[in-house]
Symmetry: C2
Amino acid sequence: MNIPVVENVLKLNDEIAAENRRTLKDAGVVTITLIGSPGSGKTTLLETTLKSLGNDLSVGLLTGDIATSRDAERLAPHSPHVAQINTGGSCHLDANQIKQGMKQLPLDKLDLLIIENVGNLICPVGFDLGQDAKIGLFSVPEGDDKPAKHPRIVLEASLLVLNKIDLIPYVSFDRDVFYGDLKSMREDAPVMELSATTGEGIDNWLDWLRRLADEG
Amino acid sequence: MNIPVVENVLKLNDEIAAENRRTLKDAGVVTITLIGSPGSGKTTLLETTLKSLGNDLSVGLLTGDIATSRDAERLAPHSPHVAQINTGGSCHLDANQIKQGMKQLPLDKLDLLIIENVGNLICPVGFDLGQDAKIGLFSVPEGDDKPAKHPRIVLEASLLVLNKIDLIPYVSFDRDVFYGDLKSMREDAPVMELSATTGEGIDNWLDWLRRLADEG
């Protein structure tokens, strides 16, 4: 009884995601989804990104949480195009929520749409939203074993970001373990280290975003 | 079509959880579930706990992850009664997995069973496993906004632990925000601060565990 229902839900999600992808492509908007644990620094990275990009790109944001609109409130001062999606308990965003969220944004004015998923390294990976690229965000204080424990995001991400490298002196984090696991799962895994709070490595990230938006 | 199936899954889970609870009670085992984000320090807290408890209590451990048996490997040197449960992608443990895991442990020899759930602040909260108490684990580098964003664990936990307080000097974390949110959701929320790596506050945690085991 179970499996067919789950399949239908995923099939419906994939259909709406494909529709979102067409709508975004037609509007000339390149879209990324940011996936990471609660507290991995997704919103802080977006704050730094918006401040640093200046007028380079016109960015829209859809930010997901199970409760509160705090992320949208933090991002609103840096962009006029922000909408919060509350999932009402669900552990991930789905394509229909993005479809509804897109209606809140002036797509024809955007170069880049960034979707900040619910804080969770597991559920969001399995749901296509219509994005062009998935970004997997790890952070130093989470520990060096997180890639090994979350293989799917490692395998599916267009880019993996290791955030909070400014905290390496204060915690137990072995880069050899982190990179050893990554390479054993995916030899050419694309990884970028940065600190969204100190700004270290942010230029590489901005270049990556600009390049993606140019190619899109 | 959807809702009845979900209800059946939860109903079946609740029935097996009730069965687990009876089995554990009959064996005189008090059981807690540890719920927190990836990297909140669940396994480190358990390592410190097992080392510090010495022979005070006989502790069994069931540790859940979507991949790898690294947590069980970390805990095995500190207890002879450890089993790993791999969920194969699922974002939480369920009661049947605990039922199977319990078969790997000598329940009649245990005072306390600690279940370390999959790293996730959302999904594990909704699935009863048969435990006596749920512990919600937050950690300082995740940020002061995590209680507000995860109301269900705040409302349902028998104890909330704020881990990694040794990192407060190095990150942006406002205790007034953290406690203000907690108190607005649950006036008498029971909270304990500690650092599983430095040992600060661990005595309070051990006392809490001993008291729970005594009462159980």
